[in-house]
Symmetry: C3
Subunit: 356 residues, 3 copies
C-alpha cells in the first residue's frame, strides 16, 4: 500500500514541509531507511542522519530547527516518536486483517464456551469447560487445558500451553512457546534421599494488559495462585516459580528468574538474567540491574540494586571499580608491608644501638 | 465435592477436636485460607495464623499445644504436613479422572507399539518403532520420534518433543514444551573460520521417577548417552548438554546449565541459574549455590560452593562481605599509605638533621 | 547394518593393521566402546584407552606409534578425528533415509509455494504466501507464519515457530521448540506508570548454514531486521533481542542473552549464560567467557573478556584470585594498621620524652 505525505499528515495531525505528494510504503529507521520509506527523528543523537537519510518522508518535532536543507518531505508534529508509533500501530492493524473463525483440524471440547469473533488456529486443543472471551485469537498448535478462562481480546500465539484452571484477563498477549501453569517445583525430601512430589493444585492468574514473551515458564501455585498483575510486561525465557506475585506495570527482562513465593511490587524493573531467591518482598519502583542476584527483601521503594549478591547500585559500582584493580591494590598493600617491616627493623636496630 | 472432617480424619487416621460434621471443598494455606477450605499447621513460623484462619478444618500435629481456642475443627495427626500432602495427592487423583484412549486427529506410525490404558492427545505424533508402556499419558501436540521407548506410567505433557532413539524409564514426568534429545552443540572449527557439524548420533536415557520442568532442553550424546538417573528432579528452562550424567535424586533448580560431558553425582543440589563448565565431576551430596559458576571438579562429597568462579561457600561469603566494603577498605589503605609516607618523611628529616 | 574394517578403510582411504574382516554396527567413544563398535583415537589424553578398549575397530593417525599390541583392528589415516566424523555423517545420512512428502493432517495455505522433494510433518501449519525451498524438511507441529521464506535444504525440527515475514537462507537447521520472530520487547512508558506497546514490524533474517539450538528465542526487529549471519552457531535457550546482528561463524553457547540492537562481529565466541547489554558493538574474533556481563563495546578484535562487569580476562583472573583471599587481605591490612598505630604511639611517646 502506498501513502502520500498528505495522507499521513492527516492521520497524525501534522504540518507538511516539502512535496505533499511523495509516497511511502514501509517504515525505516533514520540511519538506514531507503527511498519509499517513512522515518522519524526524535532522539537528538540521531540528528545527523536527518541530513543524509534516503527516506522519502520524515516525521519531526515542531520545535526542531533545521540546520540545513533536507531531502525528505517533512511532517511536523508535537511528538514525533508518538506519531510514528501511532502510524506503526495503524499499519499493523491493516496488515493483520481480521483473522476469525475456527480452522480445521482443531479440537474443541463440547463443554468449551467460545466467544464472538474468535480465531482458533489449526491443531489447537481446547479442553473441557474452557471459556474464551470475545475477539480472542488463539493461533495454531496451542494447548488450552480444562477449565481455563480467557478474557476478551487475548492474543495466544502459536504453540502456547495454558494448563488447567488458569485464568487470564483481557488484552493478554502471550508469545509463542510459553507455558502457563506448569507444576511448581516442590518435593518433600525423604529419609532415604529420594523426593516425594508435593501436588501443585493452585493455578496462575494473569490480569489485564499483561504481555509475556516467548518460551517463558510461569508455574502454578502449590495452593492459591501465582499472580501476574495488570500491565506487567515479561520478556522471553523468564522463569516465574509457584506462588510468585508480579506487581502492576512491573517489567522483567529476558532470562530473569523469580523463585517461589516472592512478591514483587508495582512498577519494578528487573534486568535480564537477574535472579531472585524465594520468599522475599521487593518494594514498589525498585530497579534490579541485569545479572543481579537478590537474596534479601528490598523494603524501601525506588531503590536500585546491582551485583550478586545484590547491594545498593552506587556502592556496588564503586566496589566493582576497585575489584578491577584488586591486583594493583594488593601490590600497594605488599609495598606498604615491606616499608613498615623496614621501619620496624630500623627501629629495632636504633633501639638496640642508638639507645643502648 | 464436599468432605466432612469425619471423612478426612478417616483418610489420615487422625483424631478430631470440634465439629466432626464441618465440610470443606478445597485446600488453602493457613495465612489466606477461607471458609470451606482445609488447611494445616506444620511450620511453627505460621503458628499465629491458626488463631485467625478462616479455614473450616485444620490438620495439626498431635503434640502441638493450643495457646487459646480456635475456630476450625482440628484433626490431629503425627505429621500434619505429610497428612496434608497425602490429601492433596488423593484430590489430584480424583480431579484428573481416568484419561485414556487415542484422541483424534493424532498420528501414530503403524510400527509403534502402544501399551494398555494409554492416553494419546490430539495432534500428537508418534513415530516408527516407538514403544509406549502401559498407563502412559501423552498430552496433545507432543512429538515422539522414531524408536523412542517409554516405560510405564509416564506423563508427557503438552508440546513435549522426545527425539529419535531416546529411552525413558517408568513414572517419568515431563512438563510442557521440554525438548529431550536435540543435537549436542558440537562443531569442528575449520581453517577458514567456519565450522563443520559433528554428527550427534547418541541418545538420552532418562531413568525411573525423574521429573523435568517446562521448556527445558536435554541434548543427546555425541556418542553413547546423556543420562538422567533415577529420581532426579530438574526444574524449568534447564540446559543439559551432550554426554552429561545427572546422578540419582539430584535436584537442579530453574535456568541452571550443565556443559558437555560433566558428570554430576547423586543427591547433588544445584541452585537456579548456576552454570557448570564441561568435562568436570561433581561429588555426591555437593550443594551448588544459585548463580554459581563451577569451573573445576568438586572431589570431596557434601561440599557447598558459591560464587563465580565458585569456591567454598563459607570463604565465598566472607569475601562477598568484604567486597561490599571494598571502597572502605581502599580508603583505609590510602590512609595508611599517607601515614607511612609521613613517617618516612619525618624519619628522613630526622636522619638528615638529628643524626647529622 | 554391519560393516567390515575393509569396507570402512575404503571409505576413509585408510590402511588396515589386523583383521580386515572384523565387523562393527555402531560407534563408541574409546573409553567406553564395546565389541562390535567402531572407535577412534585423536586426542593423546585418551591414549591409554587404546590399549584397553573393547571396540572391534579403531581409527588412528598414521603417525601414531603403538607402545604395545592392541586388540582392535586398526585403520590408519592422516586425521583420525575427521575420518571418524565423516563416517558418522555417512551413518546419519543412511539412518534418516529419504523423508519426503506431506504428512496428513497438515495445514498448507493455498498461496504457499512448496519446493521439490520437501517433507512437511503432520500438524504443521504453513501460512499464506510462504515459500519453501527444495529439499526442506519441516517436522511435525511446526508453525510457519505468513510470508516466511525458507531457502533450500532447511531442517525445521518439531515444534519450531517461525513468525510472519522472516527469511531463512539455505541449509539452516533449527532445533525443536525454537521461536524465530516473536515481538521485540519494546514499550513506551506513560506518565501514569503503564506502558504502551511499540509495534514490532521488522523481521528476522537468518543467512546460510546457520544452526540454532532448541527452545531459543530470536526476536524480530522493531523496524528492519534482526540478522543472524552466515555460518553462525547458536546453542539452546539463547535469547536474541530485536535488531541484534550476529556475525559470520560466530558461536554462542547455551543460555546466553544478547540485548537489543547490539552488533556482534564475525568469529566471536560467547560462553554459556553470558549477557550483553543493548546498543553495543563486539569486535571480530572476541571471546567472551561464560557468565560474563558485557556492558560496553569491545573495539579491539580478538580480545578475551571475563566477569560481570566484563574486563580483560587476564586482569579478571588476577582479580578473581585475590577476591578468593579477600578476608586474608583484610587481615593483613588490619595487622598493618595496628603496627603503624603502635609506631605512631611510640613515636609520640619518644617525641614527648626523648626529645623534650
Amino acid at each position: 500500500m502506498l501513502f502520500t505525505a498528505a495522507q499521513i499528515s492527516l492521520l497524525v495531525n501534522g504540518k507538511i514541509e516539502g512535496d505533499a505528494g511523495k509516497t511511502v510504503s514501509s517504515f525505516g529507521k533514520i540511519e538506514d531507511a531507503f527511498e519509499g520509506q517513512l522515518t522519524f527523528l526524535a532522539n537528538p543523537k540521531y540528528e545527523e542522519y536527518l541530513y543524509s537519510t534516503k527516506a522519502s518522508i520524515a516525521i519531526i518535532n515542531t520545535r526542531y530547527e533545521l540546520r540545513e536543507p533536507v531531502t525528505p518531505t517533512l511532517i511536523r508534529v508535537d511528538d514525533a516518536y508518538s506519531a510514528f508509533a501511532l502510524l506503526m500501530h495503524k499499519f499493523q492493524e491493516m496488515a493483520k486483517g481480521t483473522l476469525t473463525g475456527i480452522q480445521q483440524p482443531s479440537f474443541i471440547a463440547d463443554t468449551a464456551v467460545i466467544g464472538k469473533n474468535v480465531y482458533v488456529g489449526a491443531f489447537t486443543y481446547i479442553g473441557e469447560h474452557v471459556v474464551i472471551g470475545d475477539h480472542c485469537r488463539i493461533f495454531p498448535n496451542c494447548f488450552i487445558g480444562d477449565n481455563v478462562v480467557l478474557g476478551e481480546n487475548c492474543h495466544i500465539q502459536p504453540g502456547v500451553k495454558i494448563m488447567h484452571d488458569c485464568k487470564l484477563g483481557n488484552n493478554v498477549n502471550i508469545h509463542p512457546g510459553t507455558v502457563i501453569g506448569s507444576d511448581g517445583f516442590g518435593f518433600a525430601p525423604q529419609a532415604d534421599g529420594t523426593f516425594n512430589k508435593i501436588p501443585q493444585i493452585g493455578n496462575v492468574v494473569i490480569e489485564n494488559n499483561v504481555e509475556i514473551g516467548s518460551n517463558a515458564t510461569i508455574d502454578r501455585a502449590t495452593m492459591g495462585s501465582t499472580v501476574i498483575k495488570s500491565g506487567a510486561k515479561l520478556d522471553n525465557l523468564i522463569q516465574i516459580a509457584h506462588n510468585v506475585e508480579v506487581g502492576n506495570s512491573t517489567v522483567i527482562a529476558a532470562q530473569a528468574g523469580i523463585s517461589g513465593s516472592t512478591k514483587i511490587g508495582n512498577n519494578v524493573k528487573i534486568g535480564g538474567q537477574a535472579g531472585l531467591v524465594g520468599h522475599i518482598q521487593i518494594a514498589d519502583g525498585t530497579r534490579i540491574n541485569a545479572q543481579s542476584g537478590v537474596s534479601k527483601s528490598i523494603k524501601n521503594p525506588f531503590g536500585y540494586v546491582t551485583g550478586s549478591p545484590a547491594q545498593d547500585s552506587a556502592t556496588a559500582l564503586r566496589s566493582q571499580a576497585i575489584f578491577k584493580n584488586l591486583p594493583e591494590m594488593e601490590k600497594r598493600l605488599k609495598f606498604l608491608e615491606d616499608l613498615v617491616k623496614q621501619l620496624l627493623v630500623e627501629k629495632a636496630a636504633f633501639s638496640q644501638n642508638g639507645f643502648k
